[in-house]
């Protein structure tokens, strides 16, 4: 069900990892084409999934089941890409490109979906709207973009139309790179082993680029209300779920707008107090960490 055009064009470009190029026992060209087309299909699926995770209709709380399923799909693709080494290649290429690029950041790819390229982009076609919904797969323009890349397999999907309704809380800082929040916190948390590689590899290049990117980001996101200045650029999936957790009456949340570790919701509180209701086992442990955070936050507020 992947678009027919994609297959034909991609198979011609040298998208294979450099490993097998000098091998005498090279697989046949047909197998190579099949492999690369699979990788590209996989990449395009990854891009689609990441966009789905963000483009949530934020008037109503998004469907948790759908988000979980998409996030699991993303995780699955990430794992597979890590296993066959594509992951490292892609993130290294990304960091190398970022270090080398100007503020135009013409190497922004779908993995940093949020920051839109502006007219400063060099040698890049004007961003085309990505058909996120409804049409079949990638458009021809994206094919052109990818062909310009010469490292590894990169889905050159540029998301040019960011819905103004997109919640900042859902901005995924995928693979440890979160250009929009970097300015505020400057730290990165590695959620899992997979992202460790890319996080360390890209840290240096990031900071320079990020300041410039934040300008671009501001143009895009300037009008957005920042509900949750994320304490740390957690990978996409985690940001997503940390916001879903509802701490209605938690004073910290109201005051600081921060939601880091999951807090005990009001119902848990009611349940643990009620003589009848059994309290969920997790509530006591999260309560303790909540108190620590509360102390920490109070310190910040008091300014000690």
């Amino acid at each position: 069900m992947f678009p027919k055009g994609t297959k034909r064009k991609f198979s011609d470009s040298g998208d294979e990892p450099p490993a097998g190029s000098d091998d005498v026992n090279q697989p046949s060209s047909a197998a190579v084409r099949m492999l690369s087309s699979y990788s590209l299909q996989r990449q395009s699926l990854l891009d689609m999934s990441l966009i789905k995770l963000q483009l949530c209709h934020m008037l109503v709380e998004p469907n948790l089941c759908r988000s979980v399923l998409i996030a699991n799909t993303v995780r699955q693709i990430q794992e597979e890409m890590t296993q066959d080494g594509t992951w490292q290649i892609m993130t290294q290429a990304l960091s190398a490109a970022n270090a080398a690029a100007q503020c135009s950041a013409d190497r922004l790819v779908a993995t940093e979906v949020l920051c839109r390229q502006t007219e400063a982009a060099q040698g890049e076609p004007a961003p085309k709207p990505f058909p996120a919904v409804g049409s079949e797969g990638c458009s021809a323009e994206e094919v052109v973009v990818v062909e310009e890349e010469d490292e590894g397999v990169e889905g050159g999907v540029i998301m040019s139309t960011v819905s103004p309704q997109a919640p900042t809380a859902y901005l995924p800082s995928t693979f440890g790179i979160d250009p929009c929040w970097e300015e505020e916190t400057g730290e990165e948390e590695d959620e899992d082993e997979d992202s460790e590689e890319c996080a360390s590899g890209s840290e240096e290049g990031d900071n320079d680029r990020l300041v410039e990117d934040s300008r671009t980001a501001e143009q895009v996101f300037g009008t957005f209300e920042i509900k949750n200045p994320a304490p740390s650029p957690d990978p996409a999936l985690e940001e997503l779920f940390s916001d879903v957790d509802a701490s209605y009456y938690d004073l910290d949340t109201v005051l600081t707008g921060m939601q880091s570790a999951p807090k005990m919701g009001p119902y848990d509180l009611l349940e643990s107090l009620s003589s009848h209701g059994p309290s969920p086992l997790s509530s006591s442990t999260s309560c303790r960490s909540d108190l620590n955070e509360l102390d920490h936050i109070m310190e910040i507020i008091v300014g000690s």
């Binding site: 069900m1 689609m48 509900k227 879903v244 969920p280 442990t285």
Partner: protein, 436 residues
């Protein structure tokens, strides 16, 4: 024995613009309740057979309409709470009035629907218009008399069960003890007493301590039809857990775990998504349960956990289209399924306004379409077929011509007769067996 040819169709367009979101017959089948996206509940009542109007046997007409839920706004999260009715469940009838539970994402309400066909006349202190009578004019006492009046059906909210769910409620189920019911959201299941609204027991909690580790959610839950201590819940990973409330206060550890091992040959990136169970229903007998995932319906014997006893393919031709369906979000559609009264047949919906019925005994299946063009009242529905191969026969429809916006997610089967209700977007169709 399941009659394949379905005849009578009644198209009721009470809904105009609102999409029907749930359909449910009551215990006797006399009443049919529907909920819609606008928070309204419409109840239909079956006409009694009468000699005067022999052809109107079994027609369902509007009995009561009321606004069950209103849209709300959560100020702390700056999010709307939809008024869409997710589920309606009838309570067993205990007196002249009917009661049902209706729920949106956050709040469950118990509604009492009662009839009034008499009114008192001849009050002492006020006259027929309701105006107070001048006390000096009252010279004698009289006893008010009950006089017949036009039937009036009133719905009043008797209980409101609120503030117990952080996540979106997807299921409610009345227990066989007729005193309690459960409500399930994405991560928790609560047990309520029908009389008590300010307290509920949390009996299942799958929320991880760290939300970042969340990989599985609850998709549906139901109480066992006879054993009031047993219930099941399904997950987004295609598993079903049967729990016994006698085992522990918090039923996090299941008594039985139902999962079919994955077929490694058909594994793809979409495997998990299509295995997510969208509905689970016990059979009337209580011996079996049925689950609906994206492409199939499975019947499970409660005594066998490692695989279903029957599997029915609903629209296997979509397996090659999963990427497109993922792109347009159709892959996340939640189809429901239902048993007939004798558990010999099951029904579920599909796209293009198609719905499918499977006879468990004869293993025959049929695809029918709920559409206005093809349904005149009393007309016989023609079986439909989707062509999967290259060659398309005359009456068949090709997979690419299917309309994925026309989806039948909600269907219901009369508890005793072969009458079915099918919701196609904003139209409700009621079909029944051909009568000679």
């Amino acid at each position: 024995m399941f009659v394949v040819v379905v005849l009578l169709s009644l198209v009721l367009e009470t809904f105009k613009s609102d999409i029907i979101s749930t359909v449910e017959f009551n215990y006797s089948g006399e009443l049919l309740a529907t909920g819609d996206k606008g928070g309204r509940v419409v109840i239909f009542q079956r006409e009694q057979e009468s000699k005067n109007r022999p052809h109107s046997r079994g027609e369902y007409n509007v009995y009561s309409t009321f606004q069950s839920h209103e849209p709300e706004f959560d100020y702390l999260k700056s999010l709307e709470i939809e008024e869409k009715i997710n589920k309606i469940r009838w309570l067993p009838q205990q007196n002249a009035a009917h009661s049902l539970l209706s729920t949106n994402d956050k709040t469950i309400k118990l509604w009492k629907i009662s009839e009034r066909d008499k009114r008192a006349e001849g009050y002492n202190l006020k006259d027929e218009d309701g105006r107070l009578r001048d006390p000096f004019r009252i010279t004698s006492l009289r006893v008010p008399v009950l006089m017949p009046m036009d039937l009036m059906v009133e719905a009043s909210p008797r209980r409101i069960f609120a503030n117990a769910h952080t996540y979106h409620i997807n299921s409610i189920s009345v227990n066989s003890d007729h005193e309690t019911y459960l409500s399930a959201d994405d991560l928790r299941i609560n047990l309520w007493h029908l009389e008590i609204t300010d307290r509920s027991f949390n009996i299942v909690d799958i929320k991880p301590a760290n939300m970042e580790e969340l990989t599985e959610v609850i998709t549906a839950a139901e109480c066992h039809p006879h054993q009031c201590n047993v219930f099941v819940y399904s997950s987004s990973k295609g598993t079903i857990r049967l729990c016994d409330m006698r085992a522990a206060a918090l039923c996090d550890r299941q008594s039985k775990f139902f999962e079919e091992p994955e077929d490694p040959s058909s594994r793809s990136f979409f495997s998990e998504i299509i295995s997510s169970i969208s509905d689970v229903k016990f059979s009337h007998s209580g011996r079996y349960m049925m689950t609906r995932d994206y492409l199939s319906v499975k019947v499970w014997d409660l005594n066998m956990e490692n695989r279903p006893v029957e599997t029915y393919q609903v629209h296997e031709y979509l397996r090659s289209k999963l990427c497109s369906l993922y792109e347009n979000d159709c892959i996340f559609d939640k189809f429901e399924c239902c048993w007939n009264g004798s558990d010999s047949a099951i029904m579920t919906g599909s796209y293009n306004n198609f719905f499918r019925m499977f006879d468990r005994n004869t293993r025959r299946d049929i695809t029918l379409e709920a559409s206005r063009e093809n349904s005149k009242p009393r007309a016989v529905l023609k079986p439909r077929k989707v062509s999967t191969g290259g060659k398309r026969k005359k009456d068949e429809i090709s997979v690419d011509s299917l309309d994925f916006n026309k989806k039948i997610l909600h269907t219901a089967w009369h508890p005793k007769e072969n009458v079915i209700a099918v919701a196609a977007t904003n139209n409700l169709y009621i079909f029944q067996d051909k009568i000679n």
